[in-house]
Subunit: 435 residues, 2 copies
């Protein structure tokens, strides 16, 4: 995981960071007493702005935090993910919410550089305070970390209809609940949430460290509702990446949208309608899909291929060619049958059969132990970005109605979050919503 | 995870593997019909013996399968782990058990080379059979995979006293149950088991693939009892490795036994007494230790250091020096107090205070979601190798009686497995037990 025995760069480079950033409440959450912490507040909110590094790191891959869109969407999909959803506590006000978003923005802007959550860090706050940073990522590099923040529907209007933060008028019309879908076995405690944070990195310890510390900064304001670790990416979001395999052994996401296709991203991913504040953002659909892998493993290879509509080994469509050959849905086999079954997964989900709709997928494999008859609790943590939730619903509906493949899936968690546009320097995530 | 879009080398290199290996029953577990599979049985049991590679792989690190000791003990600790325990079904005979161990040995000898579980593999068995291999590791290299097999106490004598396999007389006297320990909150369904398999690799998908496919080969004979994924190693087992950090942010296992200390391994790790069949093996102690990280994070840095007896940043003992300086338990601070508290973790567990007992640790961090008040279900999957379970119990007792550190831990799963000695070519794991 690390070739360096040095502490994270924070202990060296942090001297250069002004004593500002986390709010008084954020510092209190980290356990610093009010009196002791007050001195650190002079500068108020600001995102970390320097990028110099003074220490050799094992994984120095670093993505920019600021930009037109948030990181973790078209960023080349990192190997690991820790995803978390949060609810706001009952006594949280609009100002508290803004302060939380400022604190998270500040901390995240540091974390993606491989720094600790504050200038005091894991070891620098002196002996009489709990450290600001929990320390388990000390010595590890940024490892390609991206942190992506999102807003749940309940942030705008609570389940009971309450407009807790004066945001109800800003709720985009298309941000409705997803329709009930085939093979939904929802656990509400594992779905939804007022806010979400997606942390992706090539080192899982770096992703876990980010979620843990952002959770901690929120103490007293936000409460972790559910969380999910993914150990292996199942999509490529860049043409430079090889297509990985899911737990059915299939190349997954061959036809995924890629970072190198800006026009298609504009067409399919970035929000362009609705409230001005939301434009340039995207909708994240997260679904925890349990896969009945033991049943799947008993299917003939031919049947596995038929259900997918692709050759399992190469990923090529059954109409011929290689992995990236476009499927020919009219092609027939020697017996005159359609080469790609109309109920296959690729037929049902392909843009050609869904009014052209495509999505940017960023899923991860998971294994969370096993059940009491020895079946692995395994599957795909499906994450997709679309410019409107309806677009996902439309494809899913088409897939679920006839798709034979769905028989081997069981969705236990489903959520939609609006991912605000990118963050400019000196701003906080979603600032336009509160303008 | 992979730079290669090629299928695993199996589809290329497997032409060279004789059609032998998995038993008839093992092939049946993979779903091949009896008639179709029978042709593959001519050669009977044999471990895969060739090591040539014909495909460029992303992670080509490969450890030998055969040797004096099993891999996965002193092998430099890989980054990720998937651990699984199994129970044997009620109708399994001694011969079935032997056959299972032969099948597992054969498949494991292939997996550690980056091959599929059988010569037919994930894509080569033809369209009318379920593939022998589930395929999700196709295109990935061996990634330093080791597979370590172990025997639970119930293999020798079931909970009800039954000697199911005629092995009771072979049970080593020292292989008793661990005493009840402080902060034990055991879940029996997550503890024990007749057999265990530890899969460690640098790519978690490779480790998961190994456990999943070995589980599958055992269908009808063994049933997965419990399993655990670890995402980040918390120990070094080689002097070439940097000491990683646990979820308390501490460098963990600084004083661990290392592969480069063969004499100390002989003294502390390898079984030298008891039944001849067991010698050269080791006892694996596995404990799933939940860490109250939110409580810990609220402690002053000074207190965190005091509980451990080391400086959190550097890992140096509080008596001074750097990480690998030996602790001086007599040293005092400016105020005349002992620099290292006698109730600290390092004091309680150090060999100097435990009749010289040391162990080889190979633990992993885990995060398995969160509870319903938003606390991460996080901790350390503790794995240690000792030449006798009593040695672990002695250190643990000394630690638990007074160790302040233990207040922040809660053990929910505890198991001991006897890891048989290494496997010679043409033999199967634990063969000496059945001789």
């Amino acid at each position: 995981m690390t070739e360096s025995s040095q502490p994270r760069p924070s202990t060296v480079a942090d001297e250069a960071v002004p004593e500002q950033g986390l709010s008084r409440r954020g510092l209190l959450a980290l356990g610093g007493g009010a009196g002791l912490a007050a001195g650190a507040l002079a500068g108020g909110f600001a995102t970390a702005a320097f990028t110099s590094k003074t220490t050799a790191l094992s994984d120095t891959l670093e993505y920019p935090f600021h930009g037109e869109h948030q990181g973790g969407i078209v960023t080349p999909a990192q190997d690991r993910m820790h995803f978390a959803a949060f609810d706001l506590r009952a006594d949280v006000t609009r100002d508290d919410l803004i302060e939380l978003l400022q604190d998270w923005t500040y901390a995240a802007s540091r974390l993606v550089m491989g720094l600790d959550v504050s200038a005091k860090g894991a070891f620098g706050g002196g002996p009489y305070l709990p450290p600001d940073d929990t320390g388990e990522a000390a010595g590890l590099g940024p490892s390609g970390l991206t942190i992506t923040f999102g807003f749940g529907r309940t942030l705008f209007r609570a389940e009971d209809g309450a407009d807790r933060f004066g945001l109800a008028a800003q709720l985009p019309a298309e941000f409705g609940p997803l329709p009930k879908m085939v093979n939904d076995f929802m656990d509400p405690a594992r779905s939804g949430g007022d806010l979400c944070i997606q942390a992706c990195a090539n080192d899982p310890q770096v992703a876990v460290h980010a979620i843990r510390n952002l959770t901690r900064i929120g103490f007293g304001r936000s409460r972790l509702r559910w969380s999910q670790l993914g150990f292996g990416r199942t999509s490529s979001t860049s043409t430079a990446q090889v297509t990985p395999r899911n737990l059915f052994g299939q190349k997954d996401g061959t036809n995924n949208l890629k970072a190198e296709e800006p026009e298609r991203l504009t067409e399919h991913v970035w929000i362009s309608d609705g409230p001005v504040w939301s434009r340039g953002g995207s909708y994240l659909v997260a679904r925890r899909i349990s896969m009945t892998i033991e049943v799947w493993d008993g299917l003939q290879l031919q049947e596995q291929n038929r259900l997918l509509g692709r050759d399992k080994a190469s990923g090529a469509p059954l109409s011929g060619g290689e992995e990236f050959t476009a499927p020919d849905f009219a092609a027939t086999d020697a017996g005159g049958q359609l080469a790609i079954d109309q109920r296959s997964h690729v037929f049902r989900t392909h843009p050609d059969n869904n009014e052209g709709i495509a999505m940017l997928r960023r899923g991860y494999n998971f294994v969370d132990g096993n059940d009491d008859i020895g079946r692995l609790d395994a599957g795909l943590f499906f994450v997709a970005f679309v410019k409107s939730p309806e677009r996902f619903a439309k494809v899913h509906q088409n897939m679920a109605r006839d798709d034979m493949f769905v028989e081997y899936l069981k969705t236990t968690s489903s959520s939609v979050f609006l991912i605000p546009a990118g963050i400019a320097e000196g701003e906080y995530v979603g600032q336009a919503l509160f303008g």
